[in-house]
């Protein structure tokens, strides 16, 4: 039984942002998540775009938070020490109908206060993006569109919250929530939390959690999107995010550089029943490919390094729900946080934190620690910086991941972060070890052994991505003794 002021359910981009915002107040806060790490839901599997805000219908919460949130990102990322790049975006049109849509988007964007929007014609488009389909007739140029690494932001926000006193617990799926004796009782698979306020930031499981504390039952559509991620390259075929014009047929897929120099292609959209089903499918992947071909006729996925999918939480109202819950005193929620949820998260978090602070009459802390991922990745250092880094810490001289040039010092540091990595995937997302073209083929044995050393456990306990997903089955000695299966 754990007594705390606030329980936040979900450690994705929204949950970590809310935790960080609330950590500025005098309150005890616990974040629980069913997964084994931060950002294991939609936060690790989306396009990584900070939308400029031309898409959202004025007057909606999506528009409000998108505009506010996207403006917060440059400072937020700088403060957390994570990458942010305003690479710009194009929304492309192939017909008069498309141009009509672009004009609507342009008007909407101006209403939403998006700077620098302009319609451009074919020759200028192809000058900007020579690999684009030459049949393009017009495009909306969106210079303020940006790209980020969503899970790195969530890691850094969690670390920031943790150094300011927030406690994180993983592998704790919430099984029930009850209101008794003026407090909330949040039961997870292994603990019970008694708190005054509960905040639902559970992403794709948002409706499931909502229905535990509210009589107004909610249903949610789980919309899966699949992606291709191509290898890093000094020259990518596209230098900015290219969106297709939304049509009756759907939103279209995007092709975009990532902050790490990869190219991302996707997503499709398919409604599924299980919010945790993040498998990719042959059909989905081929749909992504064929649709992306409209943007990039010479499309090649020869340098594909991985496919993945994420599940977006879609509400029938097609808008976010943010705030307190009628009839459930002390319950707050941010649900239906699909696109532009990443762009909106910091703004949603500020609002929610304010509401919770008001409700609990919290006072601001007198001193706050600002956490920042201070060390520059070895991969990005100059020769002089590398020389200095290795001389200060010889473990920088041990390159564990060849493809992404990640050092032993960096991997150990990732495990020692305030909310440190506990899994091979956790190391991968914090350091990029295993994120490259060999996909961990060379480094995973070494990463696994560093993890077991740092965590003080046997190699047998090490998982790829948490849960029961152990990397190895047993020792050679155990198998030799047990196995007669070759008979």
């Amino acid at each position: 039984m754990i007594h705390t002021d606030i329980v936040i359910i979900g450690a994705g981009i929204t949950g970590t942002a809310v935790a960080r915002a609330l950590s500025r107040y005098n309150a005890s806060i616990c974040v629980v998540d069913s997964a084994s790490d931060i950002a294991e839901g939609a936060t690790k599997a989306n396009s990584g775009i900070i939308h400029a805000g031309f898409d959202a219908k004025p007057g909606t919460l999506k528009a409000r938070y998108n505009i506010l949130g996207s403006k917060m990102y440059p400072d937020l990322c700088a403060s957390l020490g994570v990458p942010y790049r305003m690479c710009g975006a194009l929304v492309i049109a192939f017909s008069d109908d498309d141009i009509t849509v672009l004009k609507e988007l342009e008007i909407r964007g101006r209403q939403n206060g998006v700077p620098g929007l302009r319609m451009i014609r074919q020759h200028e488009i192809l000058d900007m993006e020579p690999n684009l389909n030459p049949e393009v007739v017009a495009a909306l140029d969106v210079p303020s569109s940006a790209i980020v690494s969503p899970y790195e932001i969530a890691f850094a926000m969690a670390d920031d919250a943790a150094v300011n006193g927030v406690c994180f617990s993983f592998d704790q799926p919430v099984v029930s929530i009850r209101y008794t004796d003026n407090s909330w009782q949040v039961r997870t698979s292994s603990d019970t939390y008694i708190c005054r306020s509960v905040i639902n930031c559970a992403g794709a499981s948002g409706a499931l959690i909502h229905n535990m504390y509210s009589k107004n039952h909610l249903s949610m559509i789980h919309r899966r999107g699949q992606y291709y991620l191509l290898d890093r390259s000094p020259v990518q075929p596209f230098s900015r995010t290219v969106f297709q014009c939304p049509t009756k047929m759907g939103k279209g897929v995007l092709v975009s550089p990532t902050v790490h120099g990869n190219l991302i292609i996707g997503p499709n959209a398919e409604d599924i029943s299980d919010p945790l089903d993040t498998a990719t499918t042959a059909k989905g992947l081929s749909e992504v490919l064929s649709r992306a071909g409209l943007t990039w006729p010479e499309i090649s996925v020869r340098s594909n390094i991985t496919n993945f999918s994420g599940v977006r939480a879609h509400l029938e109202t097609d808008d976010f729900v943010v705030g307190s819950v009628a009839g459930s005193p002390g319950a707050f929620e941010a649900i239906g946080i699909e696109s532009p949820g990443l762009s909106s998260a910091p703004a949603i978090a500020d609002d929610l934190a304010g509401m919770v602070a008001d409700y609990l009459s919290l006072t601001k802390k007198s001193s706050i620690v600002f956490y920042s991922v201070s060390e520059k990745p070895f991969h990005q250092m100059t020769d002089a910086e590398r020389k200095e880094a290795v001389s200060k810490n010889p473990l920088h001289g041990n390159i564990i991941c060849r493809c992404e040039v990640v050092t032993e010092a960096e991997i150990r540091a990732a495990i020692r972060r305030p909310v440190g990595a506990r899994t091979i995937d956790g190391i991968k997302r914090r350091t990029r070890a295993g994120m490259g073209r060999c996909q961990g083929g060379f480094c995973s044995p070494r990463v696994a052994s560093i993890l077991s050393e740092e965590l003080g456990c046997s190699l047998r306990e090490i998982t790829k991505g948490g849960g029961s997903g152990r990397l190895l089955s047993g020792t050679v000695a155990e198998f030799l003794k047990a196995g007669e299966s070759f008979d």
């Binding site: 993040t278 991985t306 496919n307 001289g397 041990n398 948490g466 849960g467 029961s468 190895l472």
Partner: protein, 420 residues
């Protein structure tokens, strides 16, 4: 300013790097340095504990560690410096290398000649675009081999192998012998890319079924692999609906091809062949950048380590002669792949060829009773018959200096002509 100068710098202490170092020293080079990122020399041979290495070179069947040890012993006899735990970060066209190690720190080294011997890596799942979940239990065959043979850990109990390349076949036997249950080996092509003897001794000996023209079409399991689906494919390698076979397994090993690891080479501006994925070289194994040589699996993927050693001895000698004399060629003939031939190495031959040169390539399909022909200006200048050519086995043809002097144009085509 660099921290250090060496005559010959060799990147990688696998079989290629060791052989190049030995021959460079034997050609009179005093200052030879080998940089190795692993903690010991020997490269991938360290984990290839099965036998079958060295039949050509030593006329006996050695295991991988034994084969490597012979070169390591020779390296010690010759007192050649091999630094382990050193990762090369960059290479420039001026043959300046930056490298790091926990022991020696960050260094820049300038070299009279550089021999690239970094080897290759395995094609990962991403490159196959196999749909399904991204759970634990999916390994490239070589990673699994390392876990078992070098770390002493078994990746899983019930195993399916995708790809019938030699590493996959060898791992089918290894996993079985060490106590796991190998359910199937699945190959997308209508033939195996592995050696015949491995099909017999690694699959048939243990009654492991080989599914040709099949591939994995779904992967299931949230945290750890729970099962997968295998489907037959048509001539265009597309899965045929209705042919699905489900396997309950906790491990999938991928043996779907090797890719030469040329990130450093590209950084130096070395021209890379789109076919071999290795550097374009002349018959001295010199790349498009003067003084940078390449040999072994970084140049093109071999089936036999004996050939790697042989090629690397030549590359080491050539690097030494570059440092000694800067022996400039009067020009080159370009070698082109003709019908039935892929990835001929070397891609260029000196016009003033002074010794016999072996051209190695991969047949693009299975040819029986066929002839490999070297042809220039419509004239056959050399030919060699064989009962069979298969993509799984590298083939070669040797050209003599007089063959080259008879060529009047600037190119020569290698092709396979089948009588069937």
């Amino acid at each position: 300013m660099t921290d250090q100068y060496v005559d010959i710098l060799i990147i990688g202490a696998g079989p290629a790097g060791l052989a190049a170092a030995i021959s460079a020293r034997e050609s009179g080079m005093e200052s030879v340095l080998v940089l190795e990122r692993e903690s010991e020399p020997g490269g991938i041979l360290r984990q290839c504990i099965h036998n079958g290495f060295g039949l050509h070179r030593f006329h006996e069947e050695l295991t991988g560690p034994e084969y490597a040890q012979r070169d390591i012993d020779r390296i010690r006899e010759l007192d050649i410096r091999v630094e382990c735990g050193v990762t090369v970060l960059s290479l420039s066209a001026q043959r300046i290398v930056t490298c790091v190690s926990p022991v020696y720190g960050f260094r820049t080294i300038r070299a009279g000649a550089v021999v690239l011997a970094m080897g290759c890596r395995e094609r990962p799942r991403g490159a196959l675009c196999t749909p399904g979940t991204r759970c634990a239990g999916i390994f490239s065959a070589g990673t699994a081999q390392r876990f078992v043979n070098l770390e002493g850990w078994m990746p899983g109990k019930r195993v399916v192998i995708l790809g019938s390349g030699d590493i996959g076949l060898i791992m089918a036997r290894r996993m079985t012998l060490q106590g796991a249950n190998v359910l199937a080996c699945v190959e997308i092509m209508p033939y195996s890319s592995g050696l015949n003897r491995n099909i017999v001794q690694c699959l048939q000996d243990y009654d492991i079924p080989l599914y040709l023209s099949h591939t994995v079409t779904d992967i299931r399991g949230r945290d750890r692999l729970e099962g997968l689906t295998v489907s037959r494919v048509d001539e265009n390698r597309n899965p045929v609906p209705g042919t699905e076979i489900d396997f309950e397994c906790d491990t999938l090993l991928l043996s779907c091809g090797l890719i030469p690891e040329n990130e450093l080479s590209s950084g130096a501006g070395v021209e890379i062949s789109g076919i071999t994925a290795g550097p374009v070289v002349n018959n001295h194994f010199e790349t498009s950048v003067p003084g940078i040589f390449a040999c072994g699996n970084v140049l093109h993927v071999h089936d036999l380590v004996d050939h790697v050693s042989d090629e690397s001895f030549k590359a080491g000698r050539a690097a030494a002669s570059f440092v000694n004399s800067n022996n400039v060629s009067i020009g080159f003939i370009t070698i082109k792949d003709g019908a039935g031939v892929r990835g001929t190495v070397p891609q260029k031959i000196r016009l003033d060829l002074s010794e016999n040169t072996e051209l190695m390539f991969r047949p693009s399909a299975v040819f029986r009773n066929a002839t490999v022909i070297a042809e220039a200006d419509g004239k056959v200048i050399a030919q060699k018959k064989a009962m069979i050519f298969t993509p799984g086995e590298m083939a070669s043809i040797t050209l003599k200096p007089k063959d080259i002097s008879s060529v009047s144009g600037n190119s020569l085509t290698i092709r396979i002509e089948s009588e069937d």
